[in-house]
């Protein structure tokens, strides 16, 4: 029965077509202090060298953080920051920044 529930949940998530963040935005908020120094408290970064994160797709943020952690994407600051993040931290941070208002699709 559990399998059925999982499959149904997956099909509902799929049908909605929205990007669902698996993490907890409130936990992400608490963990985001170091991020805020560069990316801003509201996800709008403090310098043109750093990307805005507000509203970004959560799975894109998670992929970027995993790539920094694994060394697939190279940046001295971000590799240092991502090195100590757990998978749970990555999910929570992505949920937090993706919940902010900012980036959008341009149509």
């Amino acid at each position: 029965m559990k399998l059925v529930q999982i499959l149904l949940a997956a099909s509902v998530a799929c049908a909605c077509g929205t990007v669902l963040a698996s993490g907890n935005p409130e936990a992400g908020h608490k963990k985001s202090t170091p991020c805020q120094a560069c990316h801003g408290p509201n996800g709008i970064s403090v310098s043109p060298a750093f990307p805005n994160l507000a509203g970004q797709n959560p799975d894109y943020i998670m992929t970027a953080l995993r790539h920094y952690k694994e060394g697939k994407r190279k940046n001295p600051i971000m590799q240092g920051q991502a090195a100590n993040l757990s998978e749970r931290d990555i999910e929570d941070l992505a949920a937090y920044f993706s919940s902010q208002k900012g980036l959008e699709y341009k149509h």
Binding site: V4, C14, G17, I44, P48, A49, F50, Y60, G102, L103
Partner: protein
């Protein structure tokens, strides 16, 4: 139980068929970016946020290439990892240029972006960055 399983599988199947149909639908515009960009009222020129800025025809072609993925809500990468492509509207223009340069010189490795960035001049990159960044950076900060 058996029936419930079949129902669930049926739902999943319907979902994936729907996704395929959606992909086919959304792929169509991305396959004809050149034609769109060549038209006077192109995607790029009429897009919201373009404001008073004008985009040369060659630049419109490049922007149409970006829009083929980044302009479609919910568009995902297909290989080697699946995730939603980043939203670009409202991004810092300088960061967009830096990212494109990293793809061009191989520091960033995603194959599709490497292929596209390899064909861009510095001027193209500046234009693309302006298209996505200039207007909405301010809007985002006001929010």
């Amino acid at each position: 139980m058996q029936r419930a399983h079949r129902l669930a599988l049926g739902a999943l199947l319907a979902c994936s068929t729907g996704a395929a149909a959606l992909a086919a639908e959304t792929q169509a515009p991305s396959q004809a970016p050149a034609a769109q960009a060549a038209a006077p009222q192109s995607n790029a020129a009429s897009a919201k946020g373009a404001g008073a800025m004008s985009w040369s025809a060659p630049l419109q072609n490049k922007i149409a290439q970006c829009q083929g993925c980044h302009g479609i809500e919910g568009w995902r990468t297909a290989f080697p990892e699946v995730y939603h492509v980043p939203k670009l509207e409202g991004q810092k223009p300088e960061y967009i240029v830096a990212a494109l340069k990293e793809y061009q010189n191989g520091e960033r490795t995603f194959a599709t972006m490497r292929a596209i960035a390899s064909q861009l001049s510095d001027e193209d990159m500046q234009g693309i960055a302006k298209y996505y960044g200039a207007q909405n950076t301010n809007t985002a900060e006001k929010k």
